[in-house]
């Protein structure tokens, strides 16, 4: 049974799977984001408290979610690679890191833009914002560590360990609004019980979230192809694939 898994994780297989999945992910992402943007920016009713300013949630919330999702993916892939010595795990982690960092930056910037009308300030040192900023630093640390090693295999392993160590921050970010008196609003979707948002606002948000996730998948698959080719450049199948 394990041989099946190892075969699944073999570089040529990962390469062809990524190449096949990327266009599908991109297409579905376009649909999800397209619907989400139109329904959310145009058709959803304005918030009774914030008016139209709330609409930035359609970009802010999915990017924040994806920043956590990408980090978790990166950490888990790295852990799998470390424990079971599956090299493609390192490729997934390496491909995922810059995407996650970009999502984090997007979340911080859109959040900052939203903070101005909502709280009167571009930045506040509250638990959620601070821990999201820490997440950005963690991404930077992982990427710098990976590139600091001359031997790429050791760099991968070191970055994977750091990724796992930093995973502790992810639940802190998520639960910070629950555990501390935070300026940031509480969880509206990811909580037990019914979400505290009306349907006309909720569906576009969920669609954007799904769209962002599929977009992440598409970009990940594209980057993964490049990573696999780069890492396996000495292998026969790569040379044959390039020549064909």
């Amino acid at each position: 049974m394990w041989t099946w898994f190892y075969k699944l994780a073999s570089p040529p297989h990962v390469y062809t799977a990524a190449a096949a999945l990327a266009p599908w992910f991109l297409g579905l992402a376009a649909i999800g984001i397209g619907y989400g943007l139109v329904a959310g920016l145009v058709f959803a009713p304005p918030d009774y408290q914030q008016g139209d300013a709330f609409r930035i949630i359609y970009v802010h919330a999915p990017s924040a979610w994806m920043s956590l999702f990408a980090y978790t993916t990166m950490a888990v892939a790295g852990a799998i690679a470390l424990i079971w010595r599956i090299k493609m795990g390192h490729a997934v982690a390496a491909a995922s890191a810059p995407i996650g960092a970009s999502f984090t930056l997007l979340a911080l910037v859109t959040g900052s833009l939203w903070g101005r009308p909502m709280w009167g300030t571009y930045w506040a040192w509250d638990p959620r914002l601070t821990s999201e900023l820490i997440l950005l630093f963690l991404y930077a640390g992982v990427m710098s560590l990976r590139s600091a090693f001359e031997d790429p295999a050791r760099g991968d392993r070191a970055a994977a360990l750091l990724g796992v160590v930093g995973l502790v921050n992810v639940p802190i970010i998520h639960y910070s609004v629950l555990w501390w008196n935070s300026l940031h609003q509480g969880a509206t979707v990811a909580k037990l019980g019914r979400p505290s948002m009306p349907g006309s606002m909720l569906w576009p948000l969920l669609s954007m979230l799904l769209g962002f996730m599929l977009f992440y998948g598409a970009v990940l698959c594209t980057r993964l192809q490049g990573e696999v080719l780069n890492r396996e450049r000495q292998a026969k199948w790569v040379r044959e694939a390039i020549q064909s």
Binding site: E150, D151, P152, A153, Q234
Partner: protein
């Protein structure tokens, strides 16, 4: 001295360093009383092989076994039974020779200072026992490192270029120590550029580029 029980097996070990295929399917076996001389041009992976056998470096393919079991499974037990002398003498400059020995050998087994002094005497550096290592010459440091290997009373000796910085008398000393180690049933893997001139039979593994 108790009868040495040990058998080292290296099966088809492959190691890549970045893009370089350093070790290409190296295999060897070593039994009590045998000395293996690993030789080859620069860059053929002699030190890498030694580090794989130590258990510091995990090979991408292949396995190293001690007494039939993979060393990854019995790592601590295995490393307690070996003594590794690297290319550098690996001594703390601020500690005396005796303290260096005490803090390394003392982690493997309880040993009295008198026994450590005896080891230093045997390698000809008894006078340096209470001097900080940083004032010793390169040759003296090498002898202190050898004394450490002796004092560990290990079954398996892994020596990387043990003749470096030693004069003719020093080289004879190393040869003598290897011979008596083998005579007592110990195993030794020696990486050296020159031939080993020993009275006992020495097997040879030549690594090619």
């Amino acid at each position: 001295m108790k009868r040495v029980v040990g058998e080292l097996g290296v099966e088809k070990v492959h190691v890549w360093r970045g893009d370089r295929h350093v070790l290409k399917g190296v295999s060897l076996t070593l039994r009590p009383g045998e000395i293996l001389h690993v030789s080859g041009p620069n860059g053929t992976g002699k030190t890498t092989l030694l580090r794989v056998v130590c258990g510091l470096l995990r090979p991408e393919q292949g396995r190293v076994s001690w007494l039939g079991k993979s060393i990854a499974a019995i790592r601590d037990e295995y490393q307690a039974a070996l003594a590794y002398a690297s290319h550098e003498p690996a001594l703390k400059g601020d500690l005396t020779a005796l303290e260096n020995l005490r803090f390394s050998v003392g982690l493997k087994r309880r040993v009295a200072p008198a026994e450590l002094r005896a080891s230093l005497e045997r390698t000809g550096v008894a006078a340096c026992a209470d001097l900080p290592v940083r004032v010793l010459s390169a040759g003296q440091r090498r002898r202190v490192a050898l004394a450490r290997v002796l004092a560990m009373a290990a079954s398996l000796w892994l020596l990387d270029e043990p003749f470096t910085n030693l004069d003719a008398a020093g080289a004879d000393l190393v040869s003598g120590l290897l011979q008596s180690h083998a005579a007592q049933g110990g195993l030794a893997l020696v990486v050296a550029h020159h031939d080993l001139k020993l009275d006992c039979p020495v097997r040879r593994l030549e690594l090619a580029a």
